[in-house]
């Protein structure tokens, strides 16, 4: 089997520093936004006592879900033994850590008391899914670091499969934990369902791979490395499978709720008369994040392969946009629908009981969220500059021979 050569990127070009500076500006804006919210209190945000988790949570949860999914590319190579994915494994691990850190920073900076992070690290209520998640997230970073080290240290390469298996199982548990933050909440009709865990796992596969495809292409093209259409289209078709899985779990989630008369109200709200949430569900999640990417990656285009590659790139962008809409509908839409304390009664109060809660994201919240994305970008950018995460070539020649070897073996 041909040996894969990895190398650092030069990272001395004007474009490299411009990109780093741009990302740095976003990170600094996020810190400024966090300070502003902290100093004045959360009333300066769009959040209120009805929608207590706002835009920062949407960003954070999206990033955390995508993080676990980004690791799948490495798992496919080491756990499921697909040689074509082996050269992609290191970047997969790096991106997973970067996205998770981006998400966690947003989550922490949106706390009412981020200065008490040490309290969260020293006081645990082990019945809390949040407390489990602290261990799951920190453990994930630790495991992926070891996994990366075993991939990079050739003398220890034979441990990679075991480490990959541990990382894969851990990430499944991690996303189960993230989905269960919502799924275990009996008070909220939009969430209270065990399907949230597998739905979130499917979402992570999809969002994580979309993010991975875009980062891989940007890194290869930005550093002048060849990337052939074989690998792009393979990743594209895989993305299609994951997108279909998300649509499937979404359909089951809503059909199950529609079947039960007690949940008709919340389903009508999300699917038909919920205003922005209905729009984001159908236009954002289903069409932009579901149907269009499926068409783009599975269409039978007889034209040149460049068009197909562009289709995969566009599909990845759409999956991220649609995925963002999906997380927004779940997190914000789920809180906007009023609590059903008195079934069958019309309810009103000065605390907005019985009415759909209003929420308009504010600039500081968006700045904080984008800062998390930028931080993830900076970590990847810095990582590929100092360590050998990227293969020197992903050309068809570099990918295909492995592919043929597998076929011959089989």
């Amino acid at each position: 089997m041909k040996r894969i050569i990895y190398s650092e990127i030069d990272g001395n070009s004007r474009e490299f520093y411009a990109l780093a500076a741009l990302l740095g500006v976003f990170v600094l804006s996020a810190l400024g936004a966090a300070y502003y919210m902290e100093h004045y209190g959360h009333y300066v945000t769009g959040m209120n006592n009805q929608i207590v988790w706002g835009m920062p949570h949407v960003f954070a949860i999206f990033l955390i879900i995508a993080a676990s999914g980004a690791l799948n590319v490495a798992s496919i190579g080491t756990v499921f033994g697909k040689p074509a994915y082996k050269p992609l494994g290191r970047l997969s691990g790096l991106l997973a850590i970067a996205l998770l850190m981006g998400g966690l920073v947003v989550l922490v900076l949106d706390l009412g008391r981020p200065d008490r992070l040490i309290v969260a690290m020293t006081n645990y209520n082990f019945k809390s899914i949040f407390a489990w998640n602290i261990f799951l997230y920190v453990g994930f970073i630790g495991i992926v670091v070891v996994y990366l080290w075993l991939q990079m240290e050739r003398r220890l390469n034979h441990f990679v499969e075991a480490a990959g298996l541990v990382a894969f199982v851990w990430r499944l548990i991690l996303t189960t934990g993230t989905g269960s933050i919502f799924g275990f909440i009996v008070a909220r009709e939009a969430w209270d369902s065990a399907i949230m865990a597998p739905l979130f796992i499917a979402m992570s596969f999809s969002f994580g791979l979309a993010a991975y495809i875009l980062v891989l292409l940007a890194a290869c093209r930005g550093s002048g490395r060849e990337i052939g259409d074989v690998i792009i289209q393979r990743l594209g078709r895989l993305l299609g499978v994951f997108v279909a899985a998300v649509l499937y779990f979404t359909a089951v989630q809503h059909l199950a709720n529609l079947y039960a008369a007690e949940h008709t109200g919340v389903e009508l709200f999300i699917l038909f008369n919920g205003g922005i949430y209905t729009f984001l569900f159908w236009a954002g999640q289903v069409v932009v994040g579901g149907i269009l990417p499926l068409i783009l990656v599975f269409r039978r285009d007889r034209s040149e392969s460049g068009n197909l590659n562009r289709g995969v790139i566009l599909a990845s962008v759409l999956v991220i946009l649609g995925g963002f809409a999906q997380v927004y509908v779940i997190v914000i839409g789920g809180q906007a629908y009023p609590l059903n304390m008195f079934p069958g009664m019309e309810v009103s109060s000065s605390f907005f009981d019985g009415s759909v809660a209003g929420y308009t994201p504010s600039l500081p919240e968006i700045a904080l969220g984008l800062g998390g994305v930028a931080l993830a970008g900076l970590i990847v950018l810095f990582g590929i500059k100092v360590l050998r995460f990227l293969p020197t070539s992903l050309s068809n020649m570099a990918i295909e021979p492995h592919h043929e070897v597998t076929v011959n073996k089989a």
Partner: protein, 261 residues
């Protein structure tokens, strides 16, 4: 009791000194006198648990504080309980209803099938199995042995998961700086808060402010007491008349119950 055992130990010790013994006896007596008020209060708590516990005694699970709210006596236009709570606990708003905290609020209910309407006060219902306590990552949300659900303001990190988990919308996030706090009801920007059942009053053998106001100037709809004491007024009332828990289907066993709902 422990003092007595100690003096017996002394008596059995070789090199026993009668003078020292009499000193210890006097000291024990003095300690007994000093402790007596506490012991007294504890004794009362045991025999008649609607009374306060001693300040140096832990809250006891022999007691479960609860309320019964009779909607037949709760007028739609009356919000004396809300006003009393705000005054007692220093909860002033900033004129921003969406972010201003509310510890207790009046809810108006109308049955669209019949047109029948009702009004009720809603606050933390002090569940036996509170979801807010389950989800709190740091344990800041906790339940006292006597059933009162509280937030430890020192360990709350402001994650708002408890607000998400509460089926009664009973908690508020403090969205801005708090001024003119009451010493008995500490609050803080960036933390979560809610009805404490006026725990400071209960510990001083007084009724919660809302209950007191309701009986003084309102309709006398709110009854407070120990649900674990079969002889308490509240226990007799809930045994005699039908009362309901809100969202009883969730199985949380709330300490606040409603009559004529």
């Amino acid at each position: 009791m422990s003092l007595k055992i100690k003096s017996m130990d002394v008596a059995e010790t070789p090199g026993f000194d009668p003078q020292r013994r009499s000193f210890l006896g006097a000291a024990a007596a003095a300690a007994g006198v000093a402790l007596a008020p506490g012991v007294m209060l504890y004794a009362i708590t045991k025999s008649s648990p609607t009374k306060a516990r001693a300040l140096d005694a832990a809250a006891s699970s022999d007691v479960r504080w609860g309320m019964l709210i009779d909607l037949g006596r709760c007028d739609s236009g009356c919000d004396d309980c809300v006003t009393a709570c705000a005054t007692e606990n220093g909860i002033g708003g900033h004129g921003r209803p969406e972010t201003d905290p509310q510890w207790i609020r009046k809810i108006e209910l109308t049955d669209p099938q019949t047109g029948n309407s009702k009004s009720l006060p809603m606050m933390c219902l002090h569940c036996e199995d509170p979801p807010c306590v389950d989800v709190c990552p740091t344990g800041a949300s906790f339940k006292r042995a006597d059933g009162i659900v509280l937030v430890d303001k020192h360990t709350c990190i402001g994650c708002r998961y408890c607000i998400i988990a509460c089926p009664y919308k009973a908690r508020s996030f403090v969205h801005e700086l708090v001024e003119d706090q009451k010493t008995h009801a500490p609050r803080g920007k960036g933390t979560v808060e809610g009805c404490t059942m006026c725990v400071h009053r209960i510990d001083a053998d007084r009724q919660p402010a809302c209950v007191e106001a309701c009986s003084d100037t309102g309709g006398g709809a709110m009854l407070f007491g120990n649900l674990n004491d079969p002889d308490s007024e509240i226990s007799k009332r809930v045994a005699r008349y039908a009362s309901q828990q809100i969202r009883a289907d969730l199985g949380l066993n709330t300490a606040v119950r409603y009559q004529n709902l």
